[in-house]
Symmetry: C2
Subunit: 268 residues, 2 copies
């Protein structure tokens, strides 16, 4: 399971303040904490700062890489900011967040993916937006995999994001995503599946619990990567428990270690 | 989703005491509490009392039916005790717990199922015990469905129990059950799937949480009935949340009502 730590994002107020003050210690502390908690990648997103996004990306990537040696997930809709991040990324194979099946986006991002031999998150959306049903989402997924692999991108470097929508808006939204996951896993066993979790609960009560249980359900249907807050001990605890229940944890050793680290404290 | 309340079982110390004292008020209180908490059936099991099981079954069934008007799940390995319960059961269609693919058990229980037009829990075990893999479990499931339906039992009256084993003993135990569930759902969409939950966590830490998350996973793979403690608010909360996430809760109204009832208090 691949965990992308999501905390370094300027849409978060604390990160915005840290960047305004160029407070390197604080950003490095957040980077380290996420890696210690189990993040395999760190997402870096400063997209709220259109006025200095490239400069901020440069500062962030450098600051983070002084503190931790994990690959980064360069997260921006601005392809120039993505390139700034990729050029500086020096640990492992970076992940680009993201490409889509929209023709203009695809054409703009693909050359960057190829030039940097990066991994890439491919959002299952096209010109018409986010397809509603599992089947139509899967058609978009197929188009993304076909177009990326014909351009030379390895299946193992593709992370399809089915784009989870709120169940408060469409009560079949979760079900359709699970269907898409099964279809992707059957047709493309080497392609990865990734998502963020908070959308599913938008507009519903008890959001964190809903997010975690949807995470559990998606793992049961083949999701193998998440963009999440690894400092949330209960979320990480749910991951360890679910891996054990799904037979992905030899002798349940990861689960038992998580228990010893206190991931289940207060949960009865 | 069908919930069988499991609390009336003499393997529980409090129930044993209640029965010794023929404390009708207490047993009725437990019956009512389970129904109010959402139980569709109440399990009645006094199998630890071989010396007076039939008499106790009679007392229990009568006492419970004075308090609540739900169908009962008559739970015993002693076919005479099962018959005592079935003869007295007067609300809805009772459920027999259980038949197996073992020839002697099957031959003994089948006539009782037919005579009472009862629903029946069919455990996926045969002469060799509990099959290890998803595929061999499914073969036993097929045999049970074939033999029961050829004897005139409706598919809708069969509740297959895949028999969950502890992941502490076999770390693939959970995965294999999920596979069996998918295979059953594909071949027999009308047949129900039921299980108890506590076995999966036997020998592991944080058992309740593990049980609940396995419940969530099995729901994602088609489990539609559980034998559980409906007074555990977190468990019931997980059920409402999972139904909403799986598109089984129109406009998420059941989930929202559960929230208002405080099913998620203390969970963040």
């Amino acid at each position: 399971l691949v965990i992308v730590g999501k905390l370094i994002n300027t849409s978060r107020k604390d990160i915005e303040v840290i960047i305004d003050e160029r407070d390197k210690d604080s950003i490095q502390r957040i980077a380290k904490a996420q890696v210690e908690a189990g993040a395999d990648y760190l997402d870096v997103n400063c997209g709220t700062r259109a006025y200095d996004e490239r400069e901020t990306m440069e500062w962030l990537v450098n600051a983070v890489q002084e503190a931790v040696q994990v690959p980064l997930c360069i997260d921006s809709a601005n392809i120039e900011a993505v390139e700034v991040g990729l050029k500086l990324a020096k640990y492992g194979q970076p992940l680009i967040n993201s490409i889509t099946a929209q023709e203009d986006v695809f054409k703009k991002v693909l050359p960057v993916v190829r030039a940097h031999k990066a991994k890439v998150i491919a959002l299952c959306m096209n010109e018409e937006g986010i397809p509603e049903t599992g089947e139509t989402r899967f058609i978009t997924a197929e188009r993304l995999v076909t177009d990326l692999t014909s351009a030379g991108v390895d299946e193992d470097d593709i992370y399809l994001d089915p784009l989870i929508q709120p169940i408060s808006v469409n009560d079949k939204a979760g079900k359709e995503v699970l269907k898409t996951l099964r279809m992707i896993s059957e047709k493309y066993p080497k392609v990865h599946k990734i998502c963020g979790l908070s959308n599913v609960s938008f507009g519903s009560p008890n959001r964190k619990m809903l997010n975690r249980l949807f995470m559990v359900l998606t793992m049961g249907h083949g999701m193998d990567s998440f963009i999440l807050n690894p400092l949330d001990r209960a979320t990480m605890g749910h991951i360890y428990a679910t891996k054990a229940l799904l037979g992905q944890d030899s002798y349940c050793l990861g689960y038992i270690a998580a228990h010893r680290k206190g991931h289940y404290q207060g949960q009865v």
